[in-house]
């Protein structure tokens, strides 16, 4: 059982960066031409601005705004990220374009990474627009008109919101990688939707429940809980926000997460999900 060739590589093949750029460009154009993504961005913007307004965060400062937004974004960012990714690879598979691409000098790794980067760029815009508008609203209307741009205990600062902003983007990118893995594993849009919903439930509720169960049953010890939280992308994100944004500002309170373990957890989910997608595409 073999497929052989006398000479496998071609000197005329374009570089990896060129091929990656080609796939990324295609994804960017797709995102830019898909109205659903604009609607998602608009909806997320409306929710974020609404919460900022109703919660009074815009007048109270950057930190109160971040705290107000944390829980809603824990739910909304995964939904938006899944919407950006759940059909990204599946649609090419359904049209037979993955088969055609297999005859071109592009590896599954390059293809998956290119799709991820292209979709990620769109997702970053979708998350950034509402959060930047929120921060502008705070900057304009904040009653204290903060001039402190260093973070230290007890002080509100735009930098705290910037950390929240970056962590939220990271969380979205992790979920996007998971959505791409799902997209590569399923064969129909219905199963992609179904598996995405299951993944969202597991991501948003399942892991937390499992950790609580593990804690009550003694499987997860008190001393290892901070690190165990890193297993769940949602807990890792929440822990990172609480540890590097909220606790920093309040200056007191117990540790709520291990930032290093949480970052490693998010990185592992991203790398693992993309690896699954590459494996699935190369099957």
């Amino acid at each position: 059982m073999e497929h052989e060739s006398a000479q496998s590589a071609s000197e005329r093949s374009p570089s990896t960066s060129h091929r990656l750029g080609t796939v990324i460009d295609r994804e960017l154009r797709t995102v830019a031409r898909t109205r659903t993504f604009y609607l998602l961005t608009a909806a997320l913007t409306a929710v974020v601005i609404g919460i900022t307004w109703i919660g009074g965060g815009y007048a109270a400062g950057y930190l109160p705004t971040a705290v107000d937004l944390l829980t809603p974004l824990e739910l909304l960012v995964p939904i938006v990220a899944v919407a950006f990714g759940y059909r990204a690879i599946l649609a090419d598979e359904q049209r037979g374009e993955l088969d055609v691409l297999e005859t071109y000098p592009i590896s599954p790794r390059e293809f998956v990474f290119g799709v991820y980067v292209g979709r990620a760029a769109g997702l970053v815009v979708a998350i950034s627009v509402p959060l930047l508008l929120a921060v502008v609203a705070v900057a304009i209307t904040d009653s204290d008109m903060l001039s402190i741009y260093a973070t230290h205990t007890g002080a509100d600062s735009p930098l705290l919101f910037a950390r929240f902003f970056v962590l939220t983007l990271l969380f979205g990118l992790v979920v996007l990688a998971i959505a791409l893995a799902i997209s590569s594993l399923v064969s129909t849009t219905r199963s992609a939707l179904g598996l995405s919903i299951v993944a969202l439930v597991v991501l948003l509720v399942g892991f937390d429940l499992a950790l609580v169960y593990g804690l009550t049953e003694g499987v997860v010890g008190d001393e290892s809980l901070l690190h165990s939280l890193a297993v769940s992308p949602l807990s890792a994100y929440r822990g990172l926000v609480l540890e590097t944004v909220v606790t920093v500002a309040s200056g007191t309170g117990p540790r709520v997460a291990s930032p290093v373990a949480s970052i490693l957890g998010l990185a592992a989910w991203t790398a693992g999900s993309l690896a699954v997608a590459v494996w699935s595409v190369s099957r």
Partner: protein
């Protein structure tokens, strides 16, 4: 016709879908500068064989050996039902594929002109008819000048004029040195155009050779007669592989 070096050697290839044997002991070669037509009844394994040849399916047993791997793209492939990502024009679609082999817009336009779709360059792919989509698919299959081009039913669903045009394109590609492998149910066009014919029945090659030579061997006047003589299943029935009758 002068025979050339085989570009593709298929040796004792089997392909099974689970417990169903779809291809059985396929051994043949495909040479540069030839149009080889794969014909056979529905379910005889044509698409599976083409996908094995295109490197999309790994044979269960046997080997497929490519002799010329210097090309940027080794094999061009047209799926049976080509489709493209919506929201892009025909030109943008071909530019995407051209870019993957290091070419650009000029190359994409040339491919479009080659299949007679130059005027449709700015049309969205979702606004193309089935026949035009197939022609774009053929243009795609030629990108990178692969030495072997595999076309799965390139004339399916096309009107007679368009079908003839597709076979003319295949001939032009062969004239330029490409080994073209295509499947078709249009036996008259195959008879007129193909250099070689390979008849597949129940996952096995039952005839292989130049149309005229096969006709002479069987003493019949047309490829249709050759086909009817070679195929075991009764006309109007579909042989389901894995089910003995």
């Amino acid at each position: 016709m002068t025979r050339h070096t085989p570009l593709l050697e298929v040796t004792a290839v089997d392909y099974d879908y689970g417990s169903v044997a779809v291809l059985n002991d396929i051994t043949t070669t495909f040479e540069e500068g030839t149009v080889t037509a794969l014909i056979g009844p529905n379910g005889s394994g044509k698409t599976t064989l083409l996908r094995v040849l295109a490197g999309l399916l790994e044979p269960t047993d046997g080997s497929v050996r490519y002799r010329d791997a210097n090309a940027t793209r080794r094999i061009g492939y047209l799926p049976q039902q080509p489709a493209f990502r919506p929201g892009f024009t025909v030109l943008e679609t071909l530019q995407f594929y051209s870019s993957l082999v290091g070419a650009g817009e000029t190359d994409a336009r040339t491919r479009l002109e080659q299949v007679g779709l130059g005027d449709a360059a700015e049309r969205p792919v979702e606004a193309l008819s089935g026949g035009m989509t197939r022609l774009v698919g053929i243009a795609q299959a030629t990108i990178g000048d692969p030495p072997i081009i595999v076309l799965d039913e390139p004339a399916s669903g096309l009107d007679p004029g368009m079908s003839k045009h597709v076979f003319e394109i295949a001939t032009e590609l062969a004239d330029a040195g490409t080994a073209v492998l295509l499947s078709s149910h249009d036996l008259e066009l195959v008879d007129r155009t193909a250099h070689d014919v390979l008849i597949l029945d129940d996952g096995q090659i039952v005839r292989h050779g130049q149309p005229a030579a096969i006709r002479a061997e069987l003493g019949v006047g047309s490829l249709r007669a050759v086909y009817e003589d070679s195929i075991a299943a009764e006309e109007g029935t579909v042989r389901v592989q894995g089910v003995s009758s």
